[in-house]
């Protein structure tokens, strides 16, 4: 386990995995702590270049983590090469942050977990909170010594669901969480509000999925809600339990990475998979079952 200390912030101690989050205060004080690499991951690939947390490196969800041809993630060679370029070792504590309430940061963290990278943490509040607090940003890109990152197999089976597995899950009446907006869930919109270019041929949701928009887990400043609020939503209101086998999905898997993080690290659910094919696959595929309406 990493030697980098955990953030003792009281709010984090209530979560199932207290070490999964760091606060902006803690990060500001630990930017030079050995063993840490801060990774920025954004929707807009140029945002890092406009200014970033000092010492942080950029990992782009599309140009770095996705395979350039097939709709899949990079393989062990690609991931090891990326880690080497970014100066990340297998035992590095990687702290992710980004725009859009950490959607892409959570997504990158999830991909790192597919490769078994152990010590991954998220900056509570992300880029938004860091900037809002007037903390230091720089355009200087750090030069980190290349590392020798071991070839690590990508283990999709525990954290990632494919279409076929979602169908099996559906037959078994397993729990599913649809984290998109209510309008996307009902089928009224075939795209995310304000993202009209990203439509699908069919609207609606996977039958049996429960609607819990990702945003319900977040405060307006981009931080995560406290554990009591989160339990009230996912367990109290939606009836999910920590032992349930849960699949989360959205449109391409980034918003559901946010919810995957909440269920896994903050609430301690044991079996949560992210269906990254999500609605952009399901809503375009032929003959897959679809439900419409608010329920």
């Amino acid at each position: 386990m990493s030697k980098v200390p955990l953030d003792p912030t009281a709010k984090f101690q209530e979560y199932a995995t207290p070490g999964a989050l760091v606060s902006t205060e803690w990060l500001a004080a630990n930017l030079n702590t050995p063993g840490i690499v801060v990774v920025e991951s954004d929707e807009d690939t140029l945002l890092y270049e406009t200014g970033h947390i000092p010492g942080s490196v950029k990992v782009d969800w599309h140009t770095d983590l996705n395979d350039p041809v097939s709709r899949d993630y990079v393989g062990p060679e690609g991931f090891a090469a990326l880690m080497s370029r970014k100066g990340i070792s297998r035992d590095t504590t990687v702290i992710f942050y980004g725009d859009k309430s950490n959607w892409w940061a959570a997504y990158a963290l999830w991909v790192f977990r597919l490769f078994g990278h152990t010590d991954v943490r998220l900056l509570d509040g992300g880029r938004q909170k860091w900037e809002a607090e007037g903390r230091e940003m720089t355009k200087e890109v750090p030069t980190r010594a290349a590392t020798s990152y071991p070839l690590s197999p990508r283990n999709d089976s525990e954290l990632r669901a494919y279409r076929e597995q979602v169908l099996e899950h559906l037959s078994a009446k397993g729990c599913m969480v649809d984290v998109r907006s209510p309008q996307e869930f009902s089928g009224e919109l075939t795209h995310m509000p304000d993202y009209p270019q990203e439509g699908t041929l069919r609207g609606g949701h996977i039958p049996g999925a429960k609607s819990v928009p990702w945003k319900r887990a977040a405060n307006d400043d981009g931080t995560f809600k406290g554990v009591a609020d989160l339990r009230a939503i996912y367990e109290g209101e939606k009836g999910l339990a920590a032992d349930d086998d849960v699949i989360a999905y959205c449109r391409i898997g980034e918003r559901s990475s946010h919810t995957w993080f909440v269920l896994t690290y903050l609430l301690g659910f044991k079996n949560v998979r992210n269906y990254d094919g999500s609605w952009s696959e399901w809503g375009n595929a032929v003959r897959l079952p679809i439900a419409v309406g608010a329920e």
Binding site: D44, T45, L46, L47, E49, D60, H62, T63, P196
Partner: protein, 148 residues
């Protein structure tokens, strides 16, 4: 990704393509950011009423554009949030590449011109949809402005 030679691009866009071609790969994102920073501020009347402009729906971020044709010279106005620098760069490149051309010259630009700038691999093909959508809307606005 193969990109056709930039020979058919109008001079302003060809200059942008040459700029990227002459820049080392690791410096190209910074160059793109320099273009983003050159996006012209909106004229008062559009800043006051964004509804006068057209939303570029192909773009991931809220990008609005309006094209005016006056004395047969095209003038593009566009706006996108500061936190969407890639989108701002697309808009700025269209301004630098097309403003001042005649309507006929703008309409003659290939629909795939944004893909010939040498930035596709840099930002990913997915994100280039915003740039091609922007050009298509600019050309439609020009066509509407000059049609009798």
């Amino acid at each position: 990704m193969s990109e056709t030679p930039a020979a058919q691009l109008p001079p302003g866009l060809a200059a942008v393509a040459a700029d990227f071609a002459d820049t080392p790969r690791e410096m190209r994102l910074e160059l793109l950011l320099e273009y983003a920073d050159r996006l012209q501020p909106l004229p008062e009347k559009y800043a006051a009423q964004i509804d006068l402009m057209e939303r570029v729906q192909e773009c991931q971020s809220p990008l609005y554009a309006i094209t005016e044709v006056s004395n047969d010279a095209v003038q593009i106005h566009a706006t996108a949030p500061q936190e969407s620098p890639t989108t701002r760069a697309f808009a700025s490149i269209m301004q630098l590449g097309l403003n001042g051309l005649t309507a006929e010259e703008v309409l003659a630009v290939s629909a795939s011109a944004p893909l010939q700038l040498g930035i596709t691999d840099l930002v990913s093909p997915l994100r280039m949809r915003g740039a091609t959508g922007l050009l298509a809307r600019i050309q439609r606005q020009v066509r509407a402005a000059v049609s009798p």
